[in-house]
């Protein structure tokens, strides 16, 4: 009951708000915050009570929800991030609408279902609803064609990956897992097991914006900052990482899925870290860093480090939502998100600046903040199960994250330029009080969540725990890298392929979008000019044949009938001639006839 309530409260409230229209705008922010608070309370309650419920859905497939250790961590994180984002959004004038609040709540509700689902069917339902809500939220400013296209990119890219989950569901059934229960998936028979694993991996990598599907996250920056904060922290991209962490037992028996996932994660952590380093737009920098940080979670799943990955997920959720909200606060106040124009932003709004710096320091992996602990938990598992090369790649990714974090902080603490900044939108000049509360709270979490391993146990106990030398090594590397970056400051290069996110989106257009649309055009022409015309040609042929018959055969057939009639008429004329009406002639005719008959009788006998 508690669990149904946890799902129903945000989903129903969100659905009602989203369909209420502009009438509800005035009340929406308050209602949404109250609903989010209630959801958080319910989430904490379920995290303690660990309930499990289920209901019949399809034949042999049930709709199951349950909260275990991993899910408990997730539901609280999701509900907390949602509350923070909604409080923040209440301070932004453009977002005080029922539509925004409704979609955020639906989005959060879908994520809550995703992280508690026990069968693939329910998981897929929530998973796709989340994708649709991300479309609606990214394209929130629907008058702007760029935002709408960004929404399309996000939805279509993630749905491309979702095809994997559909296939995985069918393959699970074919492999003998008729219930589609997540826990039973590893028991699927070969070769279906491999199909299930491939489908799940594709879906998770797409949702998590891992290589090579990272580009949609860059486009998604057209959406409002609170949307980015939610999308990049506890929901959407985190869902992919969560799914992989949840299904680690599925990856292991395939043999190939674990290493593949680990390498994709490590490559994303490193390459997208470099992309982040090259950005001149604060939100783009943070977006690329999201891909990179999620890469660590994916890496953790690949090497079986569930606890480390989960820790990284939670710590990153707090850190990244904080950073996006801070960037959003500056965007509202100063009207820009370009790093060059944000010089002095932290000095002008010191509370935002300090919280941002705490978040960036955590992102950089500086001790003793949360991501430092989390990343080392991931890397310890990598060293144990993935080998030295993978460990080194991960460590390189960690160093890069220190560099881009330091770069962002360096800009915002520089003295403000004398000239007025070039703005993208009308600056409000101030930061609304509602925005500051979530910043401070999230900063506290971003700093302190590193203590989480001390309280977790069971499946979430960090094992292997990072050795002291590993913690020391990563701390030293992070500090040194950050210091070096700080020295170089604005000099950190902006190489073309890196600023353009490795050209991935263009590649997707060339490889997928354009051929599909060309094929569609060609088929449409074929449909009109060949298929439809040939049907019409058949009809015309029938008409022409009818006319030809009418002209030729109809004349001859009709002529035969007419000739027959003429013959009959001639015979009639002939037969009329004896009918003279004169009695003596009839007698003569009768006499002749009898004579002939008599003759006939004689001859025949």
């Amino acid at each position: 009951m508690l669990l149904w309530l946890l799902m129903a409260v945000p989903l129903l409230a969100g659905g009602l708000l989203a369909s209420a229209g502009r009438r509800a705008d005035r009340a929406a922010p308050v209602v949404a915050v109250l609903v989010a608070a209630a959801t958080l309370a319910l989430a904490i309650a379920t995290a303690v009570a660990r309930p499990a419920v289920d209901a019949p859905l399809l034949a042999g497939i049930r709709a199951g929800l349950a909260v275990d250790g991993l899910s408990a961590l997730m539901v609280v994180t999701v509900a907390g991030a949602t509350l923070a984002v909604l409080v923040f959004a209440a301070g932004e004038a453009e977002l005080r609408t029922a539509r925004f609040a409704g979609f955020i709540l639906l989005f959060a509700g879908a994520m809550l279902v995703t992280v508690t689902a026990t069968t693939l069917a329910v998981l897929l339902m929530a998973w796709e609803v989340m994708g649709a809500m991300s479309w609606a939220l990214i394209a929130y400013d629907w008058r702007d064609p760029g935002s709408v296209r960004a929404g399309h990119t996000a939805f279509l890219t993630t749905r491309l990956a979702d095809v994997g989950l559909y296939v995985a569901a069918g393959a699970a059934l074919a492999g003998g897992v008729g219930s589609l229960a997540l826990a039973e998936l590893p028991a699927a028979t070969v070769p279906w097991l491999h199909v299930v694993a491939a489908g799940v991996v594709l879906a998770a990598l797409g949702k998590s914006a891992q290589l090579p599907l990272s580009f949609w996250l860059s486009r998604a920056m057209r959406g409002p900052s609170p949307v980015s904060a939610l999308l990049h922290s506890a929901t959407m991209v985190a869902a992919g990482a969560y799914l992989l962490l949840r299904l680690v037992p599925l990856l292991e028996p395939t043999g190939w899925a674990g290493p593949l996932v680990a390498w994709v994660g490590a490559a994303t952590a490193l390459l997208l870290g470099l992309v982040a380093m090259a950005q001149s737009d604060l939100k783009q920098l943070l977006a690329a860093s999201t891909c990179a940080q999620i890469g660590f979670m994916v890496l953790a799943a690949g090497v079986g480090g569930v606890a480390g990955g989960a820790l990284q997920l939670v710590a990153h959720a707090a850190t990244k939502s904080l950073l996006f909200l801070a960037a959003g606060a500056w965007l509202v106040a100063l009207g820009t998100r370009q790093l060059g124009e944000l010089r002095g932003a932290a000095r002008r709004f010191p509370l935002v600046g300090v919280t941002f710096t705490v978040g960036a320091a955590s992102l950089a992996g500086l001790p003793p903040l949360s991501l430092w602990v989390a990343k080392d938990a991931v890397l310890a598992a990598t060293l144990e199960h993935g080998g030295v090369v993978l460990y080194a790649a991960g460590m390189a990714g960690a160093v890069v994250s220190a560099i881009y974090s330091a770069k962002a902080v360096w800009y915002v603490w520089q003295p403000a330029p004398a000239a007025a900044a070039a703005v993208e939108r009308e600056p409000a000049g101030r930061v609304h009080g509602a925005m500051l509360i979530p910043l401070v709270v999230l900063a506290a979490f971003a700093a302190a969540l590193g203590v989480l391993p001390l309280v977790t146990s069971g499946a979430l106990a960090v094992a292997p725990a990072p050795a002291p030398w590993e913690l020391l090594l990563s701390a030293v590397l992070a500090v040194v890298a950050a210091l070096v970056a700080w020295r170089i400051g604005a000099g950190i290069g902006e190489a073309a392929p890196l600023t353009g996110w490795l050209g991935l989106e263009r590649a997707a257009h060339v490889v997928l979008v354009r051929p599909t649309r060309a094929l569609a055009e060609a088929l449409a022409r074929f449909d009109d000019r060949v298929l439809d015309r040939s049907v019409e040609a058949v009809a015309r042929g029938v008409g022409a044949a009818a006319r030809a018959l009418d002209r030729r055969d109809e004349l001859s057939v009709d002529g035969a009938v007419r000739r027959l009639a003429a013959g009959a008429r001639a015979l009639g004329r002939l037969a009329r001639r004896p009918q003279t009406g004169q009695l003596h002639q009839y007698y003569a005719q009768a006499a002749v006839a009898f004579a002939v008959l008599a003759l006939l009788v004689i001859v025949v006998r």
Partner: protein, 502 residues
């Protein structure tokens, strides 16, 4: 009971013919709404009284032409009742939508009432000749609706094409029925008797020919690629209500024929040629989706998505015929999904066509390029259209997903590669609906130029809301709480799967 449901609309249509044509519009449309409400109440009663596990119920059987083995035989089970319910719901929605119709309302309403009787009759018919009669009459009524209330001269041309093409298909169907009749001993047209007798269990060329004739007849009506080219012009030129009924009900007559006639009466041949059916389904899915993606005319686009959606149904019923290497649960899922898809498509595409009618009513064109940013002027219209579009692209939470997920999941084990290819159809439909939303509703505001004074471009009217929103609400209920529907369909599809496997 069933006869009452079927013939109530026709009886009222007969009574309305006696009312002088100058009576007010609301008399006629009010009568239509009342009939639909009464029919709906009766169907709800049947639904509540139906025991899904007990096969065909509410049977009525009277001798009709006993010398030829033809009887008036009707009844419902879990396969037909959802479609009967869909019919009364969709006709009711069209009746409400028709409140804004002003042209020759008397004949309009009587034609629709006649079509309602014919549609209901087809779904309860248990005799091949009765089925064929309703099948053909539906074409006749729809011909007059398209020709009389469509868009001018092109409307009449499209109506003629529709009539001739689908009539030709129905002749193939009749040929197949006669082949079945001759094969059965004693000769009969009764569907229940034929199913029990399974006269062509041995397979062979004769059975193959019967399946081919029936298959082509139903494929034209469904329609599947390559027999679909009558559909886009018919939809584009038909009035909104006509399009909604054509897509929502008439197309289902084809797919319903597969589950009611082709699969249970010709199980051996169905299994033999199941892979062909699957391939036709997959081609329809992808071809329909891709051609729809290239359209600039909103109504043509929706028409092609129907080809796509019906392709899923064909995929599902085809996969249910592939026995080797599959378990029964998979085949049951595929069959249930196919029937669910019929209902889902009827509700969602019906709503979409009514919405397209709203667009035409305001802007006098279906060309998506003529509009932009309508969300600013008509937020409600934009919102409802967006919901319908997402429902149609198979978003979970709506009925379409429940159907497609079952079809995919159930079909993958029997036809892995075709099904995996068909799944990508959901990506293309997502793309095309997003494009349509973007072109018409988002971005900077623009409406078509009207000669003279600017035409008011109003948001949805009350009658339009009353017609469209319940359809989408029902699609949402099925999407979130599907059990009330699946509890009815599942026992019937289990029985069907067993019939196919015998």
């Amino acid at each position: 009971m069933l006869s009452l449901i079927v013939f109530l609309p026709a009886a009222v249509a007969g009574a309305l013919l006696l009312v002088p044509g100058r009576a007010s519009r609301t008399t006629f449309i009010g009568a239509w709404i009342a009939v639909s409400a009464a029919d709906l109440a009766l169907v709800v009663a049947v639904w509540l009284g139906l025991d899904p596990a007990a096969g065909i119920q509410f049977e009525e059987r009277t001798a009709w032409i006993p010398s030829a083995g033809i009887s008036y035989h009707v009844g419902v089970d879990g396969l037909s009742l959802p479609l009967v319910a869909l019919t009364v719901v969709l006709f009711g929605a069209c009746a409400l939508f028709a409140l804004r119709e002003t042209r020759r309302v008397k004949s309009y309403v009587t034609l629709f009432l006649g079509l309602q009787t014919v549609s209901l009759g087809l779904f309860v018919a248990l005799d091949l000749i009765l089925f064929f009669l309703f099948f053909d009459l539906s074409i006749v009524f729809m011909y007059f609706i398209i020709a009389g209330w469509g868009h001018g001269e092109r409307g009449r041309a499209a109506a003629l094409k529709f009539f001739l093409y689908t009539f030709l298909g129905s002749l193939a169907l009749l040929l197949g029925f006669i082949l079945l009749y001759l094969a059965a001993e004693p000769h009969t047209f009764d569907i229940v008797d034929l199913t029990a007798a399974n006269p062509l269990a041995g397979g062979g060329a004769y059975a193959g020919l019967a399946l081919l004739a029936i298959g082509i007849g139903l494929a034209v009506k469904t329609p599947t690629v390559p027999f679909h080219t009558w559909l886009p012009p018919a939809h584009t030129e038909a009035p909104a209500t006509g399009s909604a009924i054509l897509a929502g009900i008439l197309l289902k007559m084809g797919t319903y024929g597969f589950v009611r006639i082709a699969m249970p009466i010709l199980p051996g041949s169905w299994r033999q040629y199941a892979l062909v059916v699957v391939l036709v389904g997959v081609v329809s899915v992808l071809y329909g989706a891709l051609v729809a993606l290239a359209q600039t005319d909103l109504k043509r686009m929706i028409a092609y998505t129907s080809v796509n959606h019906m392709g899923y149904v064909i995929l599902g019923v085809g996969a249910a015929g592939i026995i080797a290497g599959t378990d029964e649960q998979a085949r049951r899922l595929a069959t249930t999904g196919a029937v669910t898809q019929m209902v889902a498509h009827g509700l969602i595409t019906g709503a979409l066509f009514l919405l397209a009618g709203v667009l035409y009513d305001r802007g006098r064109t279906y060309d998506m390029g003529a509009y932009s940013g309508l969300a600013a002027r008509t937020p409600l219209f934009a919102g409802v259209f967006a919901v319908a579009a997402f429902a149609s692209l198979g978003l979970p939470g709506f009925a379409g997903f429940i159907a497609e997920f079952q079809i995919f999941t159930g079909s993958l084990s029997s036809a892995p590669v075709p099904t995996a290819i068909a799944v990508t159809g959901i990506l293309v439909t997502a793309g095309l609906f997003l494009l349509a939303l973007q072109r018409v509703f988002l971005g900077p505001e623009r409406v078509p130029d009207a000669p003279g004074t600017p035409r008011p471009f109003s948001d949805l009217h009350a009658s339009e809301i009353a017609a469209i929103v319940p359809l989408l609400a029902l699609a949402t209920v099925i999407g979130v709480l599907p059990r009330f529907l699946l509890d009815v369909i599942e026992p019937a599809s289990r029985a069907l799967v067993e019939l196919v496997a015998r």
